[in-house]
């Protein structure tokens, strides 16, 4: 490495057309330490908050005694449920009002904080929080969803009335179903039927930046909240609700966000509302940042699911019927479980056309940490089940596992489990073909089967589909806004409602603006979300953000082009219809001006160079029987995993992953590849390493020493391939990618381990102990 000579300014952000590699617009700030995350911010007079925890998972809350804490020098206030000025509710789904911001009579899980301490420093606040006395009468808890369904199980929400007609009894607060065709007749037709039960566990998001918020009181009852988050508009509503003030009084500004993966979808509402309530009480800015242990306690997890999957097929491998039962552990509060379970139910068959389907799903309360959105949103669990059973049927019939997926897989003209007739953008067959070819599947499948030594190799496949955006049961707004403003010097300010959380949104939007407006990339400035600039644009989840914000930006750009084209035409002496907005220049092939020149001219002529854009997703349906075009469009993926299993120790080494993803259109191949590589490793974590252990509902693996994440030495060789089956309503044909990379991995790895060992594993993760035990 040479030192001085190579040193120079920041790498130049050159204009990159949509589809070509672009350097991330935020990479320089992030690699120099200049990017400002929430904990890097401070305000004059700012105080610090800490939360008071109950120390048990289920108890009657008799009282909170802050006397000692309040007498500590430097402690400014201790707030309990009575101090929440507005409505003491924080759950994102208003139709499930089961979650108080601060519990007032019952504690339902170990992270259910009962009070907020405000002090001069964070250390002081945390120390004082530990000295707050919490009077509790412990109640028996229930920590497993299947047990929680038993008639005599302790009830997590005894205040809820049973609804026998809808089967919502005891801890079961949610049911979803799919009914398609005649399942009994379908099984009659089958030559083989396989039924298995699978279990998955809590998975932690483990984004590297813990949750944090700062609330700054403003004039009157207004407040500005800064925080690390995916969904500023959720936060705005939660803060307005807790404070009892109009939405217009709450401004939410997203800070640079250090990862989300779903974990910063609804959960930031809690921490932001706590900070806001505290700030309103003391009349000063208040910062609340979780320690890693608190983040483990208070953040949502991937739902543990118990999935029973019954699949029938004829002798030639054609699927005839599927009967699926899903039990999802929601934890103490419903949070996003209704939406997660909807998605799991709608997609439960996997990406196959099956004429007869019966799926029943249950959302169940337990006294565990809440579960919610995590990359894949309820699907990686059901995929583990469906892809394992599909494999088992293939093997039993002597059909190649990829072949059976091709035969039954979705394609244009086929129907999903919700009876959605697919008419465009179905890249599954191509992802299967590419994954097979690039992984060397055919040779390896055969060669590895012959392994007889201590180390046995295996290769397995997982295929998935994912409905992009919120779908029919989404309860948030499925529209998105953008605001584009051109300065006289040709620099462009873009405000959007979708969040950059690390996935690369700002860079692809800059590419889209550059490509469609003609401004060079370096002139485009995209800000983090500020709710005062762009109307409610829904959440940044469900692989929807590039699609939604991209289309909203394109809508604004179209308006700008309309007002600017006549000016360009006039200056150049051409007709407005002939004016093209290319990268960097505007005009015709023969005559053009730079974008900056055109911007100056528009300003000189008083032509408006500001526009708002809006995009609304198509309406989708999902009826009582789970039938309808549940999502507007689907992303598809196939991943092939290669493993080596040490039969003496049970250790599974992930050697190679081939990931083929249909994204509609590749906007930025570099960032896209990075997203897939990261997702592959998260899938590997779910399959092999990560397990959250609890005792009596309390986490006993609350840190990175005990909750094991994959590190740089665990990385397999990863080959990423893209399929572009354009979506007619997507920006440049793009669909979504956020979720899918993390989805097929666990299933593919489990199938590979089964190929290596001949043993089917039906519970994750495949730790050495578990594998060793099975090997005997």
């Amino acid at each position: 490495m040479s030192d001085r000579d190579d040193t120079g300014g920041p790498p130049e952000i050159s204009s990159a057309r949509v589809g070509s590699p672009a350097i991330r617009v935020d990479a320089d700030d992030k690699s120099t330490g200049r990017a400002v995350y929430v904990d890097d911010l401070t305000f004059p007079g700012m105080l610090h908050a800490a939360l008071v925890y109950p120390g048990c998972a289920h108890a009657r809350l008799l009282g909170v005694r802050p006397d000692e804490a309040i007498r500590t020098p430097g402690v400014r206030a201790v707030l309990t449920a009575q101090d929440v000025p507005g409505e003491n509710q924080v759950g994102v789904l208003r139709s499930y009002p089961d979650q108080p911001l601060l519990p007032h009579d019952t504690v339902r899980y170990s992270g259910d904080a009962v009070a907020i301490v405000v002090a001069d420093t964070g250390a002081l606040a945390r120390e004082a929080a530990r000295s707050v006395r919490v009077d509790l009468e412990e109640l028996p808890g229930v920590f497993d969803a299947v047990e929680a369904m038993e008639p005599n199980a302790p009830r997590v929400h005894p205040e809820r009335e049973d609804d026998d007609d809808r089967g919502l009894v005891g801890n079961v607060f949610l049911r979803e179903r799919v009914r398609k065709g005649d399942v009994d007749a379908g099984f009659e037709e089958a030559d083989i039927i396989v039924e298995r039960t699978f279990r998955t566990h809590h998975q932690e998001h483990a984004y590297l930046e813990p949750l944090g918020a700062i609330a700054v009181p403003g004039e009157g009852s207004s407040v500005t909240v800064y925080g690390t988050m995916q969904c500023p508009y959720y936060v705005q509503k939660a803060v307005a609700t807790a404070l009892g003030v109009p939405l217009a009084d709450v401004r939410v500004i997203q800070t640079v966000t250090g990862g989300g993966f779903g974990g910063k979808e609804d959960v930031p509402s809690e921490i932001c509302a706590c900070a806001a309530v505290a700030a309103a009480k003391v009349g000063k800015p208040v910062k609340l940042v979780y320690t890693r242990e608190e983040d483990f306690e208070r953040s949502s997890k991937r739902h543990p699911m118990t999935v029973t999957y019954r699949l029938g097929a004829t002798i030639d491998g054609t699927f005839t019927a599927a009967d699926i039962r899903i039990v999802a552990d929601a934890g103490a509060y419903s949070t996003l479980t209704p939406i997660v379970v909807f998605r799991a139910t709608a997609h439960a068959t996997g990406p196959y056309e099956i004429p007869n389907v019966r799926t029943d799903a249950y959302g169940v309360y337990t006294n565990r940490q809440t579960t919610g959105a995590f990359r894949g949103f309820g699907q990686p669990q059901t995929i583990f089940a469906s892809e394992s059973v599909v494999d088992e049927i293939a093997c039993a019939l002597g059909i190649d596992p990829i072949e059976i997926r091709v035969r039954n897989g979705l394609a244009v003209g086929k129907r999903t489990a919700t009876d959605h007739l697919l008419d465009e953008s179905v890249g599954l067959p191509e992802t299967l073909r590419i994954a097979r070819e690039r992984s060397g599947w055919d040779e390896k499948r055969e060669a590895f089967a012959g392994d007889a030594g201590r180390v046995r190799r295996g290769i397995g496949v997982g295929a998935i589909y994912y409905g992009v955006s919120l779908g029919a049961r989404g309860l948030a707004i499925d529209g998105s806004g953008a605001h584009v403003e051109i300065e006289p010097d040709g620099s462009v300010r873009v405000a959007i409602g979708g969040t950059e959380m690390g996935q690369g949104l700002h860079t692809v939007l800059a590419q889209i603006v550059s490509d469609s407006l003609g401004a060079p990339m370096h002139a485009i400035h995209i800000g983090h979300v500020d709710t005062s600039l762009v109307p409610d644009s829904g959440p940044s989840v469900a692989s929807r953000t590039t699609l939604m914000s991209g289309n909203a930006v394109l809508d604004a750009v179209a308006k700008l082009r309309e007002s600017m084209a006549p000016v360009a035409a006039d200056v150049l002496g051409v007709t407005a219809e002939d004016v093209e907005f290319g990268p960097g220049r505007v005009g015709t092939r023969e005559r053009s001006v730079t974008f900056a020149e055109l911007a100056a001219e528009c300003h000189a002529r008083d032509v408006a160079t500001v526009a708002d854009g809006w995009y609304k997703a198509p309406v989708t349906t999902f009826d009582e029987d789970g039938q309808g075009d549940a999502y507007a469009v689907y992303s598809f993926a196939t991943q092939v995993a290669e493993v080596e299993v040490d039969t003496e120790t049970g250790a599974v080494a992930l050697v190679r992953v081939t990931a083929a993803h249909d994204v509609g259109k590749v906007l930025n191949p570099v960032t896209l590849e990075g997203q897939v590589q990261g997702g592959v490793l998260q899938g590997a974590g779910m399959a092999l390493y990560e397990i959250m252990k609890t005792e009596g509902g309390r986490i006993v693996t609350p840190d990175f020493a005990t909750y094991i994440l994959p590190t740089s030495v665990d990385v397999p060789e990863i080959e990423v391939a893209f399929v572009e089956e354009p979506y007619s309503k997507g920006p440049f044909g793009a669909k979504g990618i956020g979720e899918t990379p993390a989805m097929p991995g666990a299933a593919a790895i489990a199938n590979a381990v089964s190929h290596a060992t001949g043993i089917r594993f039906r519970e994750l993760p495949l730790t050495a102990e578990r594998v060793k035990l099975a090997l005997g």
Binding site: D3, S31, R292, G504, E673, G674, D703, S712, V713, V715
Partner: protein
């Protein structure tokens, strides 16, 4: 108690408590917020800085232990080994991270780059597996590490 130390080539004074950690000193006393905290217990590497040439988790080191010593953080990296103090300069490792696409959410990035710096200082041409081992104490949840290792390889070339 008052301590004096060198941070990014400049002499700094600070009044710290006996349990103040180096990362608190950097972030809260000196306003150098480029160094991140992901765990506070030496388990994630986000707080990695260079102390007298060695990479350390600054959340595990007490500020008082740093009296009279030299600390290099992400903010000082561009100028590391150089005399001038001109703004806007980038170290080859930083450039490589940007160009290769090794940055996503960026929260691990400063610590990761400091670990890479320490590696390349002692081993200018490491193998891929040496790089993987050298940053195995730095967690990244976004990238799957592939492009991070690519970037360090590129910077070493």
């Amino acid at each position: 108690m008052e301590i004096t130390l060198t941070v990014n080539g400049r002499e700094r004074f600070a009044d710290v408590g006996p349990t103040t950690t180096l990362v608190e000193l950097l972030r809260e006393h000196l306003g150098l917020t480029g160094t991140k905290v992901g765990c506070g217990h030496g388990e994630c590497g986000a707080c990695t800085v260079i102390l007298d040439g060695e990479p350390v988790n600054s959340c595990l080191v007490f500020a008082v232990q740093c009296a009279g010593r030299e600390v290099l953080t992400i903010e000082g990296l561009a100028d590391a080994g150089a005399a001038s103090d001109s703004d806007g300069e980038r170290h080859p490792i930083q450039r490589a991270f940007v160009e290769v696409g090794a940055v996503q959410c960026g929260y691990c990035t400063p610590g990761m780059i400091m670990s890479a710096y320490a590696l390349l200082a002692s081993n200018p041409a490491p193998s891929r597996s040496e790089i993987e081992r050298a940053v195995s104490g730095n967690l990244c949840r976004c990238t799957g590490y592939v492009k991070i290792v690519d970037a360090i390889e590129k910077a070493s070339a």
